[in-house]
Subunit: 303 residues, 2 copies
C-alpha cells in the first residue's frame, strides 16, 4: 500500500470508527447485549473499504469527507451485517472471520441474526441523519436511500448471496457454457452492488450531476469485480494466516475466477478492469488520487 493510500485509509478509518461509536452509543432502549454483538463485528478489523469509497467519492465531487461520515458508517454497517448473516450455520457456516470467532459463535445464533438486522436498519437511520445534517434536498435524499437499499437488497447484495448459494457445486461442472456468466452475475451483485452504491452515495451527498455519478458508478463496477477476482486468486495463492480464513473455496469445489481462467488468466482480467477503472476517474483530476491508488491496491493486496 502506498503511503498516500495508507494515510488516507488511516484517516478515513479513524473518522468513520468514531462516527460508528457515536451511532452505537449506549441508549436507554438499546439492549446492551445486541449493542455488544453489533459492535463486536463492526470493530473486528475490517478494512473500511466501503466507507473510504463513500468519503473519496464525496471528496471527488467537492464535499468534505467529514460531511459524509454517517453515510460512510452506514455502508460499513451494511457490509458487516451481510458478513454476520453469511457466516450463520444455515448459510456458509463459518466459525472464523478475520481470524476471530464469528458473531454467532460468540453470541449465539438468535442474537447474531438480530445484530445483523439491527445493523442493516441502523444503516438507513445513519444515512438519513447524514442527509438531514447537510440539508440535502428531497430528491437527492430519496435517491441516496434508494441507491443504498437497491445495492444492498434482493436485486443487489442479498440477490448475489442467493445466487451464490444456488451456484454451489457449479465449480465441478466448468464445461458449462454459462459458468462464466453465472460467476460474473453473482459477484456483480454480491460484492459489486454495494461498492457501486458506496460511490454513488458519496456522489449524491455532494450533489453531483449525472456525468460524475456515472463515472464513479462505472469505476465501482470495475473495482468491485477486480476485488472479487483478486479474492479468488488470494484464496489459491494467499497466506491463510494473513487472510484469517479456515478452509477455502477451492476445498469446497466452488466456482471461482481462478478455477475458470487459471491464476494468471484471472490476474490479467483483474488488471484490465483496474485499467478501465483508472480511465473512468479522468473527470476528477487530482481529486481522485486516493481512488486511483485504491484501484491498484485492490489487485496488489495480500489479504
Amino acid at each position: 500500500m502506498s503511503s498516500l493510500l495508507a494515510r488516507a485509509m488511516g484517516k478515513n478509518t479513524a473518522a468513520v470508527d468514531s462516527a460508528m461509536e457515536e451511532l452505537l452509543a449506549p441508549a436507554p432502549d438499546l439492549p446492551e447485549s445486541v449493542r455488544k454483538a453489533m459492535r463486536y463485528s463492526l470493530f473486528a478489523g475490517g478494512k473500511r473499504l466501503r466507507p473510504t469509497l463513500v468519503l473519496e467519492a464525496a471528496a471527488c465531487c467537492g464535499l468534505p469527507a467529514r460531511k459524509a461520515l454517517k453515510t460512510a458508517a452506514a455502508l460499513e454497517m451494511i457490509h458487516t451485517y451481510s458478513l454476520i448473516h453469511d457466516d450463520l450455520p444455515a448459510m456458509d457456516d463459518d466459525d472464523l472471520r478475520r481470524g476471530k470467532p464469528t458473531n454467532h459463535k460468540v453470541f449465539g445464533e438468535a442474537l447474531a441474526i438480530l445484530a445483523g438486522d439491527g445493523l442493516l436498519t441502523k444503516a438507513f437511520e445513519a444515512a438519513a441523519l447524514n442527509a438531514a445534517e447537510i440539508r440535502l434536498n428531497g430528491k437527492a435524499t430519496a435517491e441516496l436511500i434508494r441507491v443504498v437499499a437497491y445495492g444492498a437488497g434482493a436485486e443487489g447484495m442479498v440477490g448475489g448471496q442467493v445466487a451464490d448459494l444456488e451456484a454451489e457445486g457449479l465449480g465441478k461442472n466448468l464445461s458449462s457454457a454459462c459458468a462464466a456468466k453465472t460467476l460474473e452475475s453473482v459477484h456483480r451483485r454480491k460484492t459489486g452492488a454495494l461498492i457501486v452504491a458506496s460511490l454513488e452515495a458519496g456522489a449524491l451527498l455532494a450533489g453531483a450531476g449525472a456525468r460524475w455519478r456515472e463515472a464513479l458508478r462505472s469505476y465501482g463496477e470495475c473495482v468491485g469485480l477486480a476485488f472479487q477476482i483478486a479474492d479468488d486468486v488470494l484464496d489459491v495463492v494467499g497466506d491463510k494466516k494473513k487472510m484469517g480464513k479456515r478452509g477455502s473455496d477451492r476445498d469446497n469445489g466452488k466456482l471461482t475466477y481462478a478455477a475458470l481462467y487459471g491464476v494468471d488468466g484471472a490476474r490479467a482480467k483483474a488488471r484490465a478492469l483496474v485499467e478501465t477503472a483508472h480511465a473512468r476517474l479522468k473527470p476528477f483530476g487530482a481529486r481522485a488520487a486516493v481512488l486511483h491508488e485504491l484501484a491498484d491496491y485492490i489487485i496488489e493486496r495480500d489479504k
Copy 2:
C-alpha cells in the same frame, strides 16, 4: 368489525397489495427463488394493520391515501420480515404462522433469512420511492426514513425481540417487582415501535406539523400496547384455529399481561388505553373515523 372499518381495511388492503406486487415484480437481477420466498410471507393473509395506519394517518393530515401506498407497503414488508426472522429455529422455532407453514419450513433457513433481509431492505427503497414521487422536501424525507428505521431497529422492534428473548422464563417469577415494567418495555418496542412509526410516517408524508404528529404518535403508543394486551388475552381465551397458532405463550411459561393482571385486569387495562387513544384523535375530527374504529377493533377482535 364495523362496516366502515371493514370497507376501509378492504380498500386499503387491495391498494397496498397492488403496490407490493409492483415493488416485487420479476426483475432481471432479482433471483426468482428469493422473490417467491418474500412474496410467500407477504401475501400470507396478514391483516395489513400497519399499512392501514400509514394511510389513515396520512389521510388525517390531508394527504390522499394513494400518495402514501409505497410507504404503507414498506411498513408491511418490515412487519413481515420480522415475522420470518422471529419464526426461525434459532429464535421462536415456529412451524406455523397464520395457519400456514412458516417461511423456513417451506424455503429452508438460508432463503428465509435472506428473504427477511430482502424485505427489510426493499422497505427502505419503497419509502424512498414514495418520497421522491410526491416530491417530499429533504427534511421530511430524511425524517421519514429515520423514523421508520428507528422504529424497526435495535432501539425499536429488533430491541424488543432481543428483550423478549432475554425475558423468557420471567413468567415463572411473577413476584419480581420489575416484571410489569419489563413486560411493558418489551412490548413498547416489539409491537409498539413499528405501529408508532407507521403513524408518524403517514404524518410526515403529509407534511404534518409537530402537534398532529405528536397526537398520532401518542394514539399509536396506546393502540400498540392495547394490541399486545389483547393478544395476550386471546392467547388464553381465544380459538386456536382462528388464530392459526400452535402452542401458546402460557404453555411456554412466558411473561404475559394475562398472567400478570389476570384476564379481566388485562382487558380493563386495554380498554383504558383505547379510551386515551380516542382522545388523542380529537384534532382530526371526522377524518379520524377509521382510526377511531380501529382502536375499538383492536380489543374486540377474536384473532
